[in-house]
């Protein structure tokens, strides 16, 4: 912006007329945007002009205000205004520097019939809310990486361009299916429903973005149409609503699974950042490798332990047998008569056999008495059976 410079006559600062106007104009330019209500008078529109001019009149005091609106914006509003009609004009104060005249630079104009629309809209909103169409538990999660992103858009190059550019920068390989349709004016609601159906019936579309830039209240009305709202709520895939600006809440915003203020924000929501996904895949690949290696190593360890046990088996078997033999030897030992003799018993033999009863011997028989060490020869003197 040019600087406002003054002349100096000694200590006196003096502004030229255009410098003064420019300075005041810059000051006015900092005032906030506002809505002004008034009656339309002196409407001048010409195809050759860049702007449309009108004068707003306050019906009670007769005060007037010059309003300038870009013809491009005015024509898109599709509201051929008539003189005497009451309107709301949104805009900022502006100074026409050449003449030092105050005016309003308008961004949109709305007919004052909107009050009735607002009431009907509020009624519809309550009805649909009561049906549970806007309930948080109805909201579906967006796919992490959709096979294809559906875009429903009007002939709005800016919204579409922003959305496509954001998607490209985050995930260049995205497939996009665009359905361009009428999004404002008569018949727009039906056209939007039809376009939405075409997009959701596409087999690869996993999410649909409603991309519609800002517009007047009336422009955005089709996105609050009951048919559109119901179609959004019952769509086969999640719907992201990027309709209007931050301050607008068309009813489709409430029925959608996510709502954003700009097409750029929608782009960031529907596709992931490819770098994040690649990082996550590297980590998953590492886990996969570690898991299978761990699994196989555990198996190898078990196999080795089994091998050791197998090799140890014959030795164990021999040892066990030897222990058994040792026990048998001891028992055998215990049964040996010689072992008995060593405890002081004796074997007495007569008539060729061991004597077990006194009655088996006769007086005068020769006895052979075997002891642990050596033997004795004796004769029976008496039998006591």
């Amino acid at each position: 912006m040019r600087k406002v410079e003054h002349l100096a006559y000694g200590d006196r600062k003096v502004f030229t007329v255009s410098a003064f106007n420019r300075g005041v104009g810059m000051f006015l330019g900092r005032l906030p945007a506002v809505w002004v209500e008034g009656e339309v008078t002196e409407l001048r529109r010409n195809d050759a002009w860049a702007n449309v001019f009108l004068t707003l009149k306050d019906p009670t005091t007769g005060a007037t205000l010059s309003v300038t609106i870009a013809r491009r914006i005015y024509d898109r509003l599709e509201l051929p205004l008539t003189e005497g009609e009451t309107v709301h004009v949104a805009g900022r104060a502006e100074l026409y520097e050449q003449k030092g005249e105050l005016g309003l630079r308008a961004t949109t104009v709305e007919r004052l019939g909107i009050g009735a629309h607002l009431v009907a809209l509020e009624q519809l909103k309550r009805t649909l809310a009561a049906e549970g169409l806007f309930a948080p538990e109805r909201k579906r999660a967006l796919p992490r990486l959709p096979r294809a992103v559906g875009i429903l858009t009007g002939a709005d190059a800016a919204a579409r361009g922003d959305l496509v550019a954001t998607i490209r920068s985050r995930f260049a390989g995205t497939r996009i299916v665009v359905c361009e349709t009428r999004v404002q004016g008569k018949g727009a609601a039906g056209a939007i429903v039809s376009a939405l159906r075409a997009l959701t019936e596409h087999p690869d579309v996993d999410v649909v973005v409603l991309a519609r830039g800002g517009g007047s209240f009336e422009d955005l009305l089709p996105f609050s149409d009951e048919r559109v709202v119901r179609a959004v709520a019952s769509a086969r895939v999640p719907i992201v609503s990027a309709v209007g600006h931050e301050q607008d809440t068309p009813l489709c915003d409430l029925a959608a699974d996510a709502r954003v203020a700009t097409p750029t924000a929608a782009g960031a929501l529907v596709v992931p950042d490819v770098r994040e996904l690649q990082g996550a895949l590297v980590a998953t690949r590492r886990r996969l490798g570690l898991a299978i290696r761990g699994r196989l190593e555990r198996d190898r360890g078990r196999l080795e332990r089994q091998g050791e046990r197998l090799r140890a088996a014959p030795r164990l078997l021999t040892e066990r047998k030897r222990a058994g033999l040792d026990r048998s030897g001891a028992r055998l030992q215990a049964l040996s008569p010689l072992a008995t003799l060593s405890r002081g018993y004796a074997i007495v033999r007569a008539r060729g056999g061991a004597l077990r009863a006194a009655s088996s011997a006769r007086v005068g028989d020769s006895l052979d008495i075997q002891l642990a060490a050596g033997a004795l020869a004796a004769t029976v003197d008496e039998v006591r059976p």
Partner: protein, 65 residues
Amino acid sequence: MSEPSFEEMSKELEEIVVRLERGDVPVDEAIELFRRGQQLHAECVARLESAELQIEELTAPDPAT
């Protein structure tokens, strides 16, 4: 028939990794799972590397015309 989404593939891959990490899968099945995991991983990576943005235009019937 549409091909599986990245979503589906990466979900299956994650399930395979979790099963393998739990370690209670018989070894033959573990090896089979690992092979499947490798394949899914490669497909996911390939999906991310296709750098061509494709734009397809759909025309829906306008009920008003």
